[in-house]
C-alpha cells in the first residue's frame, strides 16, 4: 500500500484521506465515555459479580435484606471509578492539547501562515526555525544551507545525542527559497510504519519546477516528529505523516491499562474466596433443602406448602448466595482506588522529590500502580539524560607527564596549568591546539560577540570549550579555513582532510596545513588503545597510560591527543590513496580505515584529557541502594559500547575487575554471535555461585540475532544475570527486552527520558520518565515522571514500599471484616433452620461494609511500619515487598483464620450471653454487630504501626460514630431497631459482653503477635524494634569492621570512586530464598512471615549463599 502526498495542494483529496496532526493519547471522547467506561468496568469479574448479586436481590423471595444495601454501594463505586477515569483522561487531553496547539508556520493557499500544530495536514509545507521541534514527519524540500544540509537532533527519537545531517532531495536542490512555498509535486511513500531508519519513497515535482524523473527519497531526506532542528537557520518540508501516524506515533504503541501484581493477587484471592463462597453456598443450600424437607415441614407454624414452584430447590441456595455475597467486600475497590489516588498524591506532594533546578515536582500520571513500585525486580534504564546529565565537562588533563587538575578536580582552575599556558610552553600550546581544532565543531559568533560552539559530539564540545577557557579560542570556521586565537595572536589553519571517527578505529584525526609556516600537521585524538600503540618509537607512553588508568578509575572519559608533522610528499602520497579508498564501492569503510592507519603512526603523544560525562547527582548511591534492595539493573542505551561501559562503571552499575566481570557478546556474523553467546552463558552459569558481579554486554546487532534465534537461551541468560548492558539498541529492542523480562514474570520498571524510551516505558510494568533535556516525550508517556534519577530511590523505597504495605493491609483487612460478618451469618443460619435468615438488618449490613469498617482502615494510608531513614539505611527490607511477603495466600490464610476465630468468638459469646429471655432478634444482632465493631477497632489498632492523630480520630471516632449512628437510628420509631440501641446501652450485660468479646478475641491475637514479634521476628520487626528503642542502629555502618564502610564514603559527586573498592554485594535476604514466587507455605497468621525454604527453582540466582 502506498500513500500519495500531493505537495501543497489545498484541494487535493489527501487532506481528508489522512488524519490531521492532532496527537491524541486519549481513551475516551465525550460521547463514548459512558458506554465505553461501563463496558470496561463490567469486564472486570468483580463488577459482573456484584451486578449479578444486585440483580438477584431484586427478587424479594430470596433477598435477605433490602436491595438498596447492594445497589447503593454499587452505584457509588461505579461513579467513583468513572470519575477517576474521566479525570485521568482529561489530564491526558490537556497535555495533548499543549502539544497540539503549538504554533508553526505552514503554507496555506500559497501564503505562509502561523497555525496550530494540530492543523497541519498531509501535503502541507511546514517551515521550521532553528531549535524548533519538528511537529510531524516531513520530507525536506529546502534549507537555509546552500548545500541543502541541515542538522537535527534525534535524541527524543532514538536517544542519540549527536547531531545528524539531513539533506534535501536532489530534485529540490537549488530551488530559490522564495519559490519554495509555490512548489507542487507528489511524494509517493509507504503507509505509516514505525521504522525510524527506513523511508523508501519517491518524489516528483510538477512544472514549472524541474520536471525530471522520479527522485528517490531515503530517511536522509526526512526529519521526523519530535526531533529538533539545530545549527540550521530554517528548513521547510512537506508533511507526509501526521498526528498519531508519524513514525514516532506508530512506535508509541497503544498503552494498555496496567494491572499491578498486587491487583492480580487480590483478584486471585477474590477468586479463591469466590470458590469458597460457592462451596459454602452449595453445602448450606443442600443442608437447607434437606432440613426443609425433614424438619421444616413438621413445623406447622412455618406453613410450608406441600407443592412448591419449580424453582423451589434453588431458593435456599440463592438465599445463601446473597447472604454470603458480602464475603467479597464490595467496598474494597473503592477503598483501593481511594488510597491509590492518595499514594499518587503523596508522590506529587513530596517535597523531597522536587527538582529544585527546574522546579519540577514529581508526578504520578498513573494513579493505580503505586504498589508495583514496591515490588520492582528489574530496572531497565536508559543512559543518556537518565543516568547522566547529558552535559560533558572537561575536568583534568595530563600534558607531557604532568597531571593538571588533580588537586582541585578541575584543570581549568589549576594554577599550574594556567601558568604553563601563560608562559606558552610548547607542549601545552600544541595540546591546546589539538583540543581546539581536531574536531568538527562549528563556532558561531552570536550577536553579543560571544562564541557558541555547535558540536556533533558533546565530547568535542567540552574540549573546545575548555580550550577556549585556556585562551586557545576557536572562533571561526569558514570552508576549510580554521581560525584560532591564542591570547592576542590569530592562527589560520587549512583543513586538508578529516579522518572521521568510527567505532572500530576509535580515533579521529585531521590533517591541517598551518598557514603561518605551511607545515602539514596530523592531529589525532582517540581512545588510549587507539593512540598509544602508535606512538613514535622511543617516546615514553607509560605516564600516559598511567594517566588514562587513573582517570578511568575516576570514571572520566579519556581521550589521548597526539600529533605529527607530515612531510609534503608523504601527505600527497597518502592523499592519493585516501581518495582512491574513499571512492571504492566495496568495503569502503574498511578500506578507508586501512588507509588512515598508514598515516596515523609514529605519533607524538601530547597528553590525555579527561572529560566528565557528568552523572546526575546521587546516581551511584541510588543504584547501589536499589541494588542492595535486591533490584537488578539493566542499562539499555542507544549509545556506543565504550561509553555505556564507562558510565556503568562510574555509577556502580558494574564493578571493575576483579570484583566484577564483564562478558561481551559480540560478533559480526550470526555464528560469531552465537559462539560468543554460548561462551558467555557458560561463564554465567559457573559464576553465579560466586559472589561476583557478572554482567553481560550486548549490542543491538547481536541482540537482534539472539532474540531471533536463541530466545530461550537468552532468557536464561537474562535471568542469571543481575546486570546487563545493552548498547546500540533501538527503541523497539528496548521494548522487546522489557517484554522478555516480563515474560519471565518479573516486575520491571523502565526509566528513560527520551522519545526513544517511550515504548519501553509503556511496555514495562512501571514506566518512569525523567522530565529532562530531551523533552517531555517520555515523561508524558510514563506512569511517573521525576526530575532526577536519584528520586527513583525515594520513589521505590519510600512510596512504593509504603504503598505496598498499606495496600497489603488494607486489602486483607477488607476481606477479613467481610468474612467476619459473613461467618456470623453462616453460623446464625445453623440455629435458624438453615433457612437463610439474616441476623443483621439491611441498615447494619450496608453501613458495616461501607462505613463502619472502611473509615478506620482508610487511615492506614498514613501508616509507616518503618521510618523513611530506616528503610533507606536497610534497603534490603524491600525484599518483603518484592517477594510479596505481606500479601500472599499464606498471609491471607492468616487473616481468613483470624476472621473465622473472631466470628466464633463473637457468635458464641453473643448467643450465650443473650440467651433465654434476652434472645430478642434485634438485640442479639446489635450485640453481635457491636462485638464486630469493637474487634475491628482493636484489630486496626494492633496492626497499625504508627499512630498519628488522624488514626486515633478514625479508629476511636469511628467507634463513637457507630454508637451515635445507631442511637439516631434507634430513635426513629419507624425503624426496625427502634429503641434497641438505647436499651442495650443501659444493660450492664451488654458492656460486660462487649469487653468479653474484645478480650477473648484480641487476647490470643496479641499473645501470638507478641510471640512472633519477639521470638520469631521478621526483619521488619527487628528493624522496628531497633528504630523505636533508639540509636544504635544508626551507627551500624561504622561498627561493622567491614569493607562496606568504604561504600559509605560515597561522595556526593561520586564519579570519584576508587576502582578497587570492593563492592560487598548482598543479593537478597540470604536466609529466605525463592519465596518470591512460591507463596504456598501456609502459616496461621499474617505476621508469621514465611521463613520456609521452598523448593529451589531452576534458576537459583537468588541462593548464592547456598
Amino acid at each position: 500500500m502506498k500513500r500519495f502526498v500531493y505537495i501543497n495542494d489545498d484541494e487535493s483529496p489527501t487532506q481528508e484521506l489522512y488524519c490531521d496532526n492532532r496527537i491524541s493519547n486519549r481513551k475516551y471522547t465525550l460521547l463514548n465515555f459512558l458506554p465505553k467506561n461501563l463496558w470496561e468496568q463490567f469486564s472486570r469479574f468483580m463488577n459482573q459479580y456484584f451486578l449479578l448479586i444486585a440483580c438477584l436481590q431484586l427478587w424479594s423471595l430470596i433477598t435477605p435484606v433490602n436491595p438498596a444495601s447492594t445497589w447503593g454501594p454499587l452505584i457509588f463505586i461505579f461513579a467513583v471509578s468513572a470519575t477517576k477515569e474521566a479525570w485521568d483522561d482529561y489530564n491526558r487531553y490537556l497535555s495533548d492539547k499543549k502539544a497540539n496547539e503549538k504554533e508553526v508556520w505552514v503554507v496555506r493557499k500559497g501564503i505562509k501562515k502561523h497555525i496550530q500544530a494540530q492543523d497541519i495536514h498531509v501535503g502541507n509545507i511546514v517551515w521550521l526555525r532553528e531549535n524548533d521541534e519538528v511537529p510531524c514527519d516531513l520530507v525536506l524540500i529546502g534549507t537555509s544551507d546552500p548545500q541543502g544540509l541541515c542538522y537535527v537532533e534525534t535524541a527524543a527519537l532514538d536517544g542519540e545525542t549527536d547531531l545528524k545531517t539531513r539533506v534535501i532531495p536532489s530534485a529540490c536542490m537549488g530551488i530559490d527559497s522564495e519559490l519554495l512555498h509555490k512548489i507542487k509535486g507528489v511524494v509517493e511513500c509507504p503507509n505509516p510504519d514505525k521504522d525510524i531508519r527506513r523511508f523508501d519513497a519517491n518524489l516528483r515535482l510538477f512544472p514549472p519546477f524541474i520536471d525530471n524523473d522520479v527522485c528517490p527519497l531515503t530517511i536522509k531526506n526526512t526529519i521526523l516528529q519530535s526531533c529538533y532542528l539545530r545549527n540550521t537557520e530554517w528548513v521547510c518540508g512537506v508533511a507526509v505523516y501526521t498526528g498519531n501516524e508519524t513514525k514516532l506515533g506508530m512506535s508509541r504503541g497503544v498503552p494498555e491499562p496496567k494491572l499491578t501484581a498486587m491487583d492480580a493477587m487480590i483478584d486471585k484471592l477474590t477468586g479463591a474466596i469466590f470458590v469458597f463462597q460457592i462451596v459454602v453456598v452449595i453445602v448450606l443450600g443442600i443442608a437447607g433443602n434437606v432440613w426443609k424437607d425433614t424438619e421444616a415441614r413438621k413445623k406447622w407454624y412455618v406453613l410450608y406448602p406441600n407443592e412448591g414452584p419449580w424453582y423451589e430447590l434453588l431458593v435456599i441456595p440463592l438465599r445463601f448466595e446473597l447472604l454470603c455475597s458480602i464475603m467479597i467486600p464490595i467496598s474494597i475497590k473503592v477503598s483501593l482506588d481511594l488510597v491509590k489516588s492518595l499514594y499518587a498524591k503523596f508522590i506529587d506532594w513530596d517535597a523531597e522529590m522536587i527538582d529544585y533546578e527546574t522546579g519540577c515536582p514529581s508526578h504520578a500520571t498513573n494513579t493505580a500502580i503505586s504498589e508495583d513500585l514496591g515490588q520492582v525486580e528489574y530496572i531497565l534504564t536508559d543512559k543518556t539524560g537518565t543516568l547522566t546529565e547529558n552535559k560533558m565537562v572537561f575536568r583534568r588533563c595530563c600534558i607531557s607527564g604532568i597531571f593538571y587538575g588533580n588537586e582541585s578536580g578541575n584543570a581549568l582552575k589549576d594554577a599550574q596549568l594556567l601558568n604553563a599556558v601563560a608562559s606558552g610552553s610548547t607542549d601545552v600550546i600544541r595540546f591546546l591546539t589539538v583540543m581546539a581544532i581536531c574536531n568538527t565543531v562549528i563556532p558561531v559568533q552570536s550577536k553579543t560577540g560571544a562564541i557558541l560552539y555547535k558540536a556533533q559530539s558533546q565530547d568535542e564540545d567540552a574540549l573546545v570549550q575548555a580550550a577556549a577557557k585556556l585562551h586557545m579560542v576557536l572562533f571561526n570556521r569558514s570552508g576549510n579555513i580554521l581560525e584560532t586565537r591564542y591570547n592576542a595572536s590569530v592562527f589560520h589553519y587549512e583543513v586538508l582532510e578529516t579522518l572521521e571517527f568510527t567505532s572500530d578505529r576509535k580515533r579521529m584525526s585531521v590533517v591541517v596545513r598551518d598557514c603561518q609556516n605551511g607545515k602539514i600537521i596530523l592531529l589525532s585524538k582517540g581512545a588510549d588503545e587507539a593512540i598509544l600503540p602508535y606512538a613514535a618509537a622511543g617516546q615514553q607512553t607509560r605516564t600516559f597510560s598511567e594517566a588514562v588508568e587513573q582517570y578511568a578509575q575516576l570514571g572520566l572519559r579519556t581521550l589521548c591527543l597526539a600529533w605529527r608533522e607530515l612531510k609534503e610528499d608523504e601527505y600527497h602520497e597518502w592523499y592519493l590513496m585516501f581518495r582512491e579508498a574513499s571512492s571504492t564501492l566495496v568495503d569502503r569503510e574498511w578500506r578507508i580505515a586501512e588507509v588512515c592507519q598508514r598515516l596515523e603512526h609514529d605519533l607524538e603523544v601530547l597528553g590525555v584529557t579527561a572529560i566528565e560525562d557528568r552523572l546526575q547527582d546521587g546516581v551511584p548511591e541510588t543504584i547501589e541502594t536499589l541494588r542492595k534492595a535486591g533490584i537488578n539493573f539493566w542499562m539499555l542505551t542507544g549509545d556506543k559500547q565504550n561509553t555505556a561501559i564507562q558510565i556503568a562503571l562510574s555509577c556502580n552499575f558494574i564493578s571493575p575487575e576483579p570484583k566484577g566481570q564483564l562478558l561481551l557478546i559480540d560478533g559480526k556474523t550470526e555464528d560469531e554471535v552465537s559462539r560468543s553467546f554460548e561462551r558467555v552463558l557458560l561463564t554465567m552459569r559457573i559464576t553465579t555461585s560466586e559472589p561476583k558481579d557478572v554482567a553481560f554486554v550486548v549490542d543491538g546487532w547481536a541482540l537482534e540475532i539472539l532474540l531471533k534465534h536463541y530466545r530461550k537461551a537468552f532468557t536464561e541468560l537474562a535471568i542469571l544475570s543481575r546486570t546487563a548492558i545493552c548498547c546500540r539498541v533501538t527503541p523497539s529492542q528496548k521494548a522487546q527486552l522489557v517484554e522478555l523480562l516480563k515474560s519471565c514474570d518479573y516486575r520491571t520498571l523502565a526509566i528513560g527520558d527520551g522519545g526513544n524510551d517511550v515504548r519501553m516505558i509503556q511496555q514495562a510494568a512501571i514506566g518512569v520518565g525523567i522530565s529532562g533535556r530531551e523533552g517531555l516525550q517520555a515523561a508524558r508517556a510514563a506512569d511517573y515522571s521525576i526530575g532526577k534519577f536519584r528520586f527513583l530511590k525515594r520513589l521505590i523505597l519510600v512510596h512504593g514500599r509504603y504503598s505496598y504495605n498499606r495496600t497489603a493491609f488494607l486489602s486483607q483487612y477488607s476481606f477479613y471484616k467481610s468474612l467476619l460478618i459473613c461467618f456470623i451469618q453462616i453460623f446464625f443460619s445453623f440455629i435458624s433452620g438453615v433457612s437463610g435468615t439474616s441476623l443483621f438488618n439491611s441498615v447494619s449490613l450496608m453501613a458495616y461494609n461501607v462505613f463502619y469498617t472502611s473509615i478506620p482502615v482508610l487511615v492506614s494510608v498514613l501508616d509507616k511500619d518503618l521510618s523513611e531513614e530506616m528503610v533507606m539505611q536497610h534497603p534490603q527490607i524491600l525484599f518483603y515487598c518484592q517477594a510479596g511477603r505481606l500479601l500472599n495466600p499464606s498471609t491471607f490464610a492468616g487473616w481468613f483464620g483470624r476472621s473465622l476465630f473472631h466470628a466464633i468468638v463473637v457468635f458464641i459469646i453473643s448467643i450465650n450471653a443473650y440467651a433465654y429471655e434476652k434472645s430478642e432478634m434485634e438485640e442479639v444482632a446489635m450485640m453481635a454487630l457491636s462485638g464486630c465493631i469493637w474487634l475491628q477497632a482493636f484489630v486496626v489498632t494492633l496492626e497499625t504501626n504508627s499512630f498519628t492523630i488522624l488514626q486515633h480520630l478514625a479508629i476511636w471516632g469511628n467507634l463513637i460514630a457507630f454508637y451515635v449512628i445507631n442511637w439516631i437510628v434507634s430513635s426513629i420509631p419507624s425503624s426496625g431497631m427502634y429503641t434497641i440501641m438505647f436499651r442495650l446501652c443501659r444493660q450492664p450485660t451488654y458492656w460486660i459482653t462487649v469487653f468479653l468479646i474484645v478480650a477473648a478475641g484480641m487476647g490470643p491475637i496479641l499473645a501470638l503477635k507478641y510471640f512472633r514479634y519477639t521470638y520469631r521476628p521478621s526483619k521488619i520487626n527487628t528493624l522496628q524494634q531497633a528504630e523505636r528503642l533508639g540509636g544504635p542502629i544508626l551507627s551500624l555502618g561504622n561498627i561493622e569492621p567491614q569493607p562496606r564502610s568504604l561504600e559509605k564514603e560515597v561522595s556526593p559527586l561520586s564519579i570519584t570512586q576508587p576502582k578497587n573498592r570492593s563492592l560487598v554485594y548482598e543479593p537478597l535476604l540470604s536466609d529466605s530464598p525463592n519465596t518470591r514466587r512460591s507463596l504456598g507455605s501456609g502459616t496461621p497468621f499474617d505476621f508469621f512471615q514465611s521463613q520456609s525454604r521452598s523448593s529451589s527453582s531452576s534458576y537459583s540466582r537468588n541462593c548464592k549463599d547456598n
Binding site: 424438619e295 413438621k298 406447622w300 407454624y301 412455618v302 406453613l303 406448602p305 498524591k345 503523596f346 506532594w349 517535597a351 446464625f828 440455629i831 435458624s832 433452620g833 433457612s835 437463610g836 435468615t837 498514613l862 509507616k864 536497610h874 534490603q876 459469646i909 448467643i911 450465650n912 450471653a913 440467651a915 433465654y916 429471655e917 434472645s919 430478642e920 432478634m921 442479639v924 504508627s946 499512630f947 420509631p973 419507624s974 427502634y978 460486660i992 468479653l996 478480650a999 487476647g1003 507478641y1010 514479634y1013 521470638y1015 521476628p1017 526483619k1019 522496628q1024 524494634q1025 531497633a1026 528504630e1027 523505636r1028 528503642l1029 533508639g1030 551500624l1036 562496606r1044 548482598e1066 535476604l1069 540470604s1070 529466605s1072
Partner: protein, 350 residues
C-alpha cells in the same frame, strides 16, 4: 507501651505573632500530612508492656467474673417442662392427635416447689425449645405497617402465606401473629390464687409506636387452618401484650417469653399449683414447653455463661502472662538487634 513521640512538633510558631496561630498550625499540619510526616507514636510490643497488659486483663476479669457469677447464682429459678407430662395417658402414643383434638380437655396441673426464697418481682416465662422463630419464612412474615396502621395499610404481601382469608385481609397478618402462643397459666399458692400481673410485659416502645392503638384484630384465625391463639377483636393491638411479646421474635431456637409478673415474695418450701391450658402444639415437631419462674438481678435472669467466661479469660490471661514472663526471663531477646538481620549476619560471618 513504649512510645517515642516521633518528631517533636515545632514550638517556635509561638514567636510569630502576626500570623494567627490557628491557621498556621492547620497549614503546618496540612504540609506534614502531605509529606506523610505527621508526628506519630509508634508503640512496640515490649515484654513489659504485653505482660502487664495480660496481667491487668486477668486481674480485672477474674473479679468481674466472680461478681457476675455470684449475681447469676443468686437468681432463683424454677423450670418445669410440662409438654410431655400434660398429655393424658391415653394419648401418650399419639400426642399430635391429642393436641389437635378439640374435644379433649387441655387443662393440666403442675406442682412447683419453691426451694429458696424468691423476692418479688418474680417473672413468669414460658420457654419453647426447638422452636424456630428465626426461620426465614417465619421471621419475614409480618407487616409492621399493618400492625401500626391496621386496614388502612393494604400492602401485606410480606405476610405471605397468611395475608388474607376469604378475600379479606387479616389483621394482624403473617405467620408470627398466626402462630401466637396460647397456653395459659393460673397460679395457686396454698388455697389462694397467686395474682399475676400481665400488664406491662411488652416493651413500652412497642405498645406505643409499633402496634396501633386503634387497630383491632380483624378476620384473625378465621380460616380453615387455625394456628395458635385467638385475639379479642375488641382490644386494640397496642393493648394485646401477649401478641406484642410474641412478635418480638427470638434469635435462638430456644427462648423464653414473658408471661407475667408475680408481685409478691415466694418463700422457701412454698408449694405452688399451676393450672394451665395446654393449648399450643409443639408435639408435631418435637418442641418442648417449659414454665419458668425466676427472680431477676441487675444482669437479668440466671445465666452463668458470662461469669464463667470472664473467669476463664481472666485466668488464661494470667497464665499467658506468666508463660511470657518465664520465657522472657529464661530466654531474653536483645531487642532490635540488627545483628539478627541476615544481610548483616552474613557480613559478620564472612
Amino acid at each position: 507501651m513504649d512510645v517515642d513521640g516521633g518528631e517533636s512538633s515545632s514550638s517556635d510558631s509561638i514567636s510569630v505573632r502576626s500570623i494567627p496561630i490557628h491557621s498556621r498550625q492547620s497549614e503546618d499540619f496540612l504540609y506534614k500530612f502531605k509529606q506523610q510526616n505527621i508526628p506519630a507514636c509508634k508503640p512496640v510490643l515490649t515484654p513489659a508492656w504485653v505482660i502487664a497488659t495480660l496481667l491487668l486483663l486477668g486481674f480485672f476479669f477474674i473479679p468481674i467474673g466472680l461478681v457476675t457469677l455470684r449475681t447469676s447464682r443468686g437468681v432463683v429459678e424454677i423450670v418445669d417442662r410440662y409438654d410431655a407430662d400434660c398429655v393424658p395417658e391415653a394419648f401418650k402414643g399419639n400426642k399430635v392427635s391429642y393436641i389437635k383434638d378439640t374435644s379433649v380437655p387441655k387443662n393440666c396441673t403442675l406442682v412447683l416447689k419453691v426451694h429458696k426464697h424468691m423476692k418479688a418481682p418474680i417473672y413468669v416465662y414460658y420457654q419453647l425449645d426447638n422452636y424456630y422463630q428465626n426461620h426465614r419464612r417465619y421471621v419475614k412474615s409480618r407487616s409492621d405497617q399493618q400492625l401500626l396502621h391496621g386496614l388502612k395499610y393494604n400492602d401485606t404481601s410480606s405476610c405471605k402465606p397468611e395475608e388474607s382469608n376469604n378475600g379479606l385481609p387479616i389483621v394482624p397478618c403473617g405467620l408470627i401473629a398466626w402462630s401466637l402462643f396460647n397456653d395459659t397459666y393460673k397460679f395457686i399458692r396454698g388455697t389462694a390464687e397467686l395474682r399475676i400481673n400481665r400488664k406491662n410485659i411488652a416493651w413500652k416502645s412497642d405498645r406505643n409506636h409499633k402496634f396501633g392503638k386503634h387497630v383491632y384484630p380483624f378476620n384473625f384465625q378465621s380460616g380453615t387452618l387455625i394456628g395458635g391463639g385467638k385475639l379479642d377483636p375488641n382490644v386494640p393491638l397496642g393493648d394485646q401484650e401477649d401478641l406484642i411479646v410474641w412478635m418480638r421474635t427470638a434469635a435462638l431456637p430456644s427462648f423464653r417469653k414473658l408471661y407475667g409478673r408475680i408481685e409478691e415474695d415466694l418463700d422457701a418450701d412454698d408449694v405452688i399449683l399451676v393450672h394451665l391450658m395446654n393449648n399450643y402444639n409443639t408435639y408435631s415437631f418435637g418442641g418442648k414447653k417449659k414454665l419458668v419462674i425466676s427472680t431477676s438481678s441487675w444482669l437479668g435472669g440466671k445465666n452463668d455463661f458470662l461469669g464463667v467466661a470472664y473467669i476463664f479469660v481472666g485466668s488464661s490471661a494470667i497464665i499467658l502472662a506468666l508463660f511470657f514472663l518465664l520465657l522472657h526471663v529464661k530466654n531474653p531477646r536483645p531487642y532490635g538487634d540488627t545483628a539478627y538481620l541476615s544481610w548483616n549476619r552474613k557480613g559478620i560471618s564472612s
